[in-house]
Point group: C2
């Protein structure tokens, strides 16, 4: 079924103990798109500046990503620089220049408004809500968010949560949003805020899925080769939403498989900088890793 | 098959955000025994002081724990006091009085020496090794250890590792022993030190199993009711070794089930102070929780 992602397109400069990348392609919408395109065609809405080489989108187009919703605005493309140290579980931001992303008012092309699956990558809750208002009634909308919005736009975030099917966030964000230290309680509290499902990502410790009737947990894929965690959360979301959209329905079974495919996409992505690891990994290899992962977790 | 545990018997005074227990029964060998006794009869070797009310062992005897290896020594029983704050992931020790446990030289009763499964709870590696030397050739010996021994008795620990089938330790200990931050690498490095299997416990994040050919991971049981984490690791070990001993063989299948039973026993134990939660939970309830857990993790 049709899948839409709205989020950032960025240039990232990243340093980790294993190397660095300067002004590499990144951003939530691109990481999401790369991962989701293993499973389905999708539609991308984002903004770039005049400095952006549009040819960089060709790779995405070849993977079945409709980039006709990428707007070119006056100014420079969003830039982020950061580094990871030690166990690389937390990024230290060196500089964030929102540039054109700071004034981004997503315009959903008419041909995208019938998308059945929608992913609202991290952004201001009012902006995420403005996207939803442009859509025909989608079947399954999942939003990402971050601590910043809990602090400066809590009422808007709470309003958004009443209008989405799912929320995806990391463990610290789940604790902050719910006020609960115990993640199981945190997940249940967030369900009360509106979404039918909540996915809590725990990095190297895997992920939880909460819904009214079912809880589900996965460890991370056992990789010993983490070079750059940038985009791990968005490639998880891409694998998750991409495989759900490909399945065309949201059931306990498709949700569980989606959690595992999200895990696999994140595990591939972190093995190199920018999109390098996903670029050298095809769908067959993703499926092989999925099968290995089942062996790793099944009793 | 016959199972032996050698470890500590203690009085614990514990404070957590959910209450406190004063001079409550504890110690690695007792937590292990309580959990293992869901699955099998077992043999206990430990030491208590003259202050110990031997009647406290009656409960264990009724559960099928042969306590004839519990030695009474001149002096007081091992006492530990500590507290847990915040997310309760780490115990803060207030006071440790080893008392009679400080000079413990375990003597394995003649009738225990043919035990096929042996668990060496945390203790000095030379003491653990001295236990092994008294045994007829056991089939499957698992040792627990801690950072202290890596720092003050590394050669003895390395020697022990060449003589055991398995090592069980927590994530920080695995990182310290291996010098690897990545836990997957850490597990593989520890395998090279001798044991055929390594179990890495990650508390609320579950546990890993490493062996030469197979890796396996489990999330923790999704409990929202953690009152006191004391003994979680030892009750995990008790469920793990107890279910293996009951199965009578160590295969990939029995190991995976043992990991899950260890997870379940730990999840029961942390729901109350001392043995209170295990005391009110019968085998049928353990099995029901095991089945729920399978639902929680199976795709």
């Amino acid at each position: 079924m049709s899948l839409l992602v709205v989020g950032s397109i960025a240039f990232d400069s990243v340093e980790t103990p294993f190397g660095k990348a300067e002004t590499a392609l990144g951003g939530s919408a691109l990481y999401f798109s790369y991962a989701a395109s293993y499973f389905t065609h999708l539609r991308l809405v984002g903004v770039v500046g005049r400095d952006f080489p549009m040819v960089a989108l060709d790779e995405f187009k070849r993977r079945g990503v409709d980039c006709s919703g990428v707007e070119v605005a006056d100014g420079d493309t969003f830039r982020w620089s950061g580094k990871y140290e030690g166990d690389m579980s937390v990024a230290q931001t060196i500089e964030t220049k929102l540039n054109v992303f700071g004034n981004f008012q997503p315009k959903i092309p008419a041909g995208f408004r019938d998308s059945r699956f929608v992913f609202l990558a991290n952004g201001a809750p009012t902006t995420q809500m403005a996207v939803l208002k442009q859509m025909d009634k989608p079947d399954f909308v999942v939003a990402d968010t971050m601590n910043l919005w809990m602090r400066i736009a809590k009422p808007d975030l709470l309003n958004l949560l009443k209008n989405v099917s799912g929320l995806i966030l990391n463990d610290e964000e789940a604790r902050e949003l719910s006020g609960q230290r115990n993640l199981i309680r945190a997940g249940r509290e967030i369900l009360k805020l509106g979404p039918r499902i909540v996915v809590v990502k725990k990095g190297e410790h895997g992920a939880f899925l909460f819904s009214e009737f079912v809880q589900f947990a996965l460890p991370a894929y056992p990789t010993d080769d983490v070079k750059d965690p940038t985009g791990a959360g968005d490639s998880f979301a891409g694998g998750f939403m991409g495989s759900l959209a490909a399945a065309g329905k949201v059931t306990l079974s498709t949700l569980k498989r989606a959690m595992a495919y999200g895990t696999i996409c994140a595990s591939v992505n972190v093995e190199d900088f920018s999109f390098a690891a996903m670029r050298r990994t095809n769908r067959e290899q993703v499926d092989r890793r999925f099968e290995e992962f089942l062996q790793f977790i099944q009793i």
